[in-house]
């Protein structure tokens, strides 16, 4: 009888101690910029003296995505290459051209970034990220070697700089 009473008391005590407790998941939303390298560009070699990221030339354009968590906090600055970071020894000059343009957008109004972009100097394009969301930028690059000279055989690498700068 005593054991039964003690067991009942213990069970009651254990029942009262099993209280629900809150287990919060905390998070903070703050202005933030994320730079995603969606596609690394690839140079095609359509002519002996030309390297080009255009698909028509057998290349692939680079695609960079900027995710902006809150509107109007950042500038996106994209620099397309004007030199090779690694290449075989080149004895003549290389003429570089390229562009950075707005591709896909998560908010339709972001299309206006293209008209408002600032190009200065010639290989640096700055976009004012006035809206929150994702914007894909397509970067193309072309390198022309010498005057109708064939590029030496080997691997060529050029670097695109994708900067996100707080305003």
């Amino acid at each position: 009888m005593t054991i039964k009473k003690i067991t009942a008391v213990v069970l009651l005590l254990s029942a009262t101690s099993a209280m629900a407790t809150d287990s919060p998941i905390n998070g903070t939303v703050q202005p933030k910029c994320s730079v995603y390298t969606e596609t690394q560009g690839v140079f095609g070699n359509p002519l002996p003296n030309k390297l080009d990221t255009l698909p028509a030339s057998g290349g692939t354009k680079a695609s960079i995505r900027y995710d902006i968590a809150q509107a109007n906090f950042y500038l996106a600055r994209i620099t397309h290459p004007n030199s090779f970071s690694s290449s075989p020894t080149l004895n003549d000059s290389v003429a570089w051209t390229g562009s950075s343009v707005v591709g896909q957008v998560s908010v339709a109004a972001m299309s206006a970034y293209e008209a408002a972009k600032v190009i200065s100097p010639s290989n640096v394009t700055t976009f004012n990220m006035t809206l929150a969301g994702s914007t894909w930028f397509t970067v193309s690059s072309t390198a022309l070697y010498g005057y109708n000279k064939a590029l030496p055989a080997g691997s060529y690498t050029a670097i695109i700089k994708a900067d996100c700068i707080a305003k």
Partner: protein
């Protein structure tokens, strides 16, 4: 169409190559060293092709500012956070504008254009 969008989003989810740094506007607090202030920063590496990030501090016109940190070349694993402190002399605070991290990419590759990302926080 909806399924296609989900599929595309899943693909993006699988291949996420992002570089993030917070806060956007760091606060300079007094440090344990007299005459030196500290900014507490956080870097998140979601670029599987990048392991190292360089820390730099600049003025408004992108001139380098002297600073100290545990290591200027941070090793951050894929999908990892790294907290780091940037120490700036009090005399340099007025001209200090940007704290930046730049991804360091390995030389090499084969007829590629590589993407180097830089994120800059601004001291207001």
């Amino acid at each position: 169409m909806r399924l296609y969008l989900i599929f595309v989003l899943c693909l993006f989810g699988l291949k996420s190559n992002a570089h993030e740094m917070t806060p956007t506007y760091p606060v300079l607090d007094s440090s344990y060293i007299n005459g030196v202030v500290v900014a507490k920063m956080k870097l998140f590496n979601r670029r599987d092709d990048v392991e190292y990030y360089q820390v730099e501090v600049f003025t408004e016109d992108w001139k380098p500012v002297k600073f100290a940190t545990t290591t200027r070349l941070l090793k951050v694993g894929y999908n990892k956070n790294k907290l780091f402190n940037v120490y700036i002399r009090f005399v340099d605070v007025k001209r200090t504008k940007y704290i930046c991290t730049t991804s360091k990419i390995f030389k090499g590759g084969n007829q590629e254009t590589l993407v180097s990302s830089m994120i800059c926080s601004k001291i207001k």
